[in-house]
């Protein structure tokens, strides 16, 4: 079993493979790189290929073999994000690489007593600082101990395996936990009002000049998408290691709709030839198309894209303006 625990680095927190020795530090905010990295890693080797004169063409599938992994300190927004990714990678074609990792993963969430970021807005998007969706266990920090809820069979089994460490909560503890949950939601500073009005409004705005203005300062890097806990776009490439005999592997890597050549045809034709079209795609995918497919937003309000955008593009501001555009 591997355990991933919050670790403080110079630039922020990470979920690092480490022994969990003690409580999660009280100044823990959120992991800069979301837990999706451990279930949908940035590099996944699909298979190796080899072609020799004697044995011909051979493909060696490299499905991930991994021990159970417990990720501790998952914020509820990131838990909901994993639930959204689960939808993407199932359906008529199940993705075996994703699901092997997903089934080996146990998500131990930590409720947010205070918003981890100035820019958190989970409550505007049907989430909350104590949301349980996607998680196996939810911890709430009561000050000197954790209030623990086993949510799934995997989570409950984890608790049962160490039952001597737990005791039934008292009425006082239950009340305190509810109080903390309520206060956590009240402390959220930023809100995206009337989010459910966005999908029908955005549907009318495809050809609007609004996107040109919104995308003026975008430098088309991959930060908003790579650090987003729900973004899942990927690339597949063959990497040749040797030519004769042919040896190599097929690799999946993260990709982003913000890179100019993401949708470029071999002929040079690009359905999204400028930043405005690409910003529009990102926001419409998250707040319209995903809703049309799965009846949920593809944004959990974690605030990372806001915190990390090099030029300060503010998704709450852009969407609020979109919602009121032309009114």
């Amino acid at each position: 079993m591997k355990v991933f625990f919050p670790k403080k680095e110079a630039f922020g927190w990470t979920l690092t493979e480490a022994a969990a020795d003690g409580a999660i530090p009280s100044d823990y905010s959120y992991a800069v790189v979301p837990p999706k990295k451990l279930i949908f890693p940035q590099e996944e080797i699909f298979f190796e290929f080899q072609q020799t004169a004697d044995e011909g063409l051979q493909l060696r599938e490299t499905l991930p073999e991994l021990p159970p992994q417990v990720i501790v300190g998952v914020r509820p927004c990131d838990g909901r994000a994993v639930a959204a990714l689960d939808q993407v990678f199932s359906g008529s074609f199940e993705d075996p690489y994703y699901w092997r990792r997903r089934r080996a993963t146990i998500l131990v969430g930590l409720a947010c007593n205070t918003p981890p970021s100035n820019n958190c807005f989970c409550s505007s998007l049907e989430g909350s600082p104590s949301s349980e969706e996607g998680l196996d266990v939810l911890l709430t920090d009561l000050g000197d101990r954790y209030y623990v809820r086993g949510l799934t069979e995997k989570g409950k089994e984890l608790i049962r395996a160490q039952s001597s460490l737990f005791s039934d909560p008292t009425e006082e503890e239950k009340k305190l936990r509810n109080k903390i949950s309520q206060e956590g939601a009240q402390k959220i500073k930023r809100h995206l009002e009337a989010a459910r009005e966005l999908p029908p409004k955005l549907k009318t705005m495809f050809d609007s000049p609004f996107w040109e203005e919104a995308a003026l300062s975008c430098i088309r890097c991959g930060i908003c998408t790579y650090l987003c806990p729900t973004c899942h776009c990927f690339d597949i490439n063959d990497e040749t290691r040797a030519l004769a005999p042919l040896k190599g592997r097929r690799v999946r890597t993260w990709d982003t709709c913000q890179f100019p050549d993401f949708t470029m045809h071999s002929s040079g034709h690009n359905p999204r030839p400028n930043k405005a079209a690409r910003l529009r795609q990102r926001l419409l995918h998250k707040f319209l198309y995903f809703v049309e497919l799965y009846d949920r937003f593809q944004c959990v309000g974690c605030g990372r894209c806001l915190d990390l955008c090099p030029v300060g593009i503010d998704i709450i501001e852009v969407l609020s303006k979109a919602r009121n555009h032309g009114a």
């Binding site: 940035q42 890097c221 400028n274």
Partner: protein, 343 residues
């Protein structure tokens, strides 16, 4: 002191008189952002413009967008773009002029002097004032920075929170500009290359181990390259995110493109990307510090560029961005250039 009112007045006049197409400056950012780039097209909108120690961005980066826009349009508006340049940014303009990426008439530059200060490092302010969260910054009276936090206003000594690059900056005053706001004050620079000093003391093995560890974190988001004014190549040799082809590009040309770097983020690919980029920036990087600032996983990229800057000076007496008319470092060879490496 640089007057924000004077700045707004100047820009308003330029827009009213139609002398510039639009203006690129800074405005207040959202919560948790000290400032951010602003594109001002209407004279009335100049009230958005600010000048504060949070104005860290190198706005010359957006000249790439302008150039690409002109290439796409049938009858492009050829009026200059107006923008604010700090000392470091003005050196970037000089490099772009040297390389003939832009012409002087393409830009109208409002220079601002950093006087005795500079811009702040947001991480330093956040650490210094924790648990209060910084929301906005202003220049204080005497080499101090006023910070508006979510728990009230604080005043701190600038030296504690200025960006590292400002502490070693040799060019706190714009070298090229149409007008300049603020006074020209010679700021002493007693310890240039301070930030690489401790790194240079490491052995080669220690340095290699350091970089292996650092680059294992790189996500190849390419924010460092995307934010750099000098990384303007349509296609980057090290894993391009732009594919410069047209309907006329033959299948053979496309088939023969070499992939020097794979898309995967394994350490050796990451190192290759960063080192190639650093070498391609030798003699061109003005240390605006943006690459390091924007990196979401805190890679110490300035170390690479600063080292090469130091080498360029030591080996060739070359300083970046001082003179738009001098030939670029890598494209000229002088008789007295060192040749001891040629055997």
């Amino acid at each position: 002191m640089v007057s924000e009112d004077k700045l707004r007045e100047e820009v308003k006049k330029l827009l009213q008189e139609g002398k510039i197409k639009y203006f690129i400056g800074y405005e207040n950012g959202g919560p948790g952002w000290l400032a951010r780039p602003a594109f001002i097209q209407q004279p009335e909108a100049v009230s958005r413009l600010i000048w504060s120690p949070g104005c860290v961005h190198n706005l010359t980066r957006f000249l790439q967008d302008e150039k690409r826009r002109r290439a796409r349009e049938k009858n492009p508006d050829l009026r200059p773009v107006g923008l604010i340049v700090k000392g470091c940014d003005s050196r970037a303009i000089n490099v772009l002029l040297q390389e003939k990426y832009i012409e002087r008439k393409d830009v109208y530059l409002i220079g601002v002097s950093c006087e005795l200060l500079g811009v702040v490092d947001e991480a330093k302010i956040t650490r210094r004032l924790y648990p209060a969260k910084p929301l906005q910054v202003r220049f204080g009276a005497k080499e101090t920075i006023l910070v508006l936090t979510d728990q009230g206003e604080r005043e701190i000594a600038a030296s504690e929170v200025l960006a590292d690059r400002c502490l070693e900056c040799p060019a706190n005053f714009p070298l090229v500009a149409d007008i300049v706001l603020g006074e020209k004050i010679n700021r002493p620079n007693p310890q240039p290359y301070q930030s690489i000093a401790s790194f240079e003391a490491k052995s080669l093995e220690e340095r290699w181990a350091f970089w292996q560890e650092q680059f294992s974190r790189c996500l190849r988001c390419y924010a460092c390259r995307s934010v750099c004014p000098m990384c303007y190549c349509d296609e980057c040799v090290a894993d391009s995110i732009v594919y410069a082809v047209s309907a006329d590009t033959t299948a053979e040309e496309k088939a023969q493109k070499v992939k020097w770097v794979e898309r995967n983020p394994e350490p050796q690919e990451n190192i290759f990307y960063h080192l190639v980029r650093a070498i391609h920036l030798a003699g061109r990087c003005v240390d605006c510090g943006e690459c390091e600032r924007v990196c979401p996983v805190g890679l110490p990229l300035r170390l690479l560029n600063k080292k090469l800057e130091k080498e360029a000076k030591a080996l060739f007496g070359y300083e970046v961005g001082l003179d738009a008319n001098s030939p670029p470092l890598i494209s000229c060879f002088r008789d007295n250039d060192p040749q001891d490496f040629i055997r």
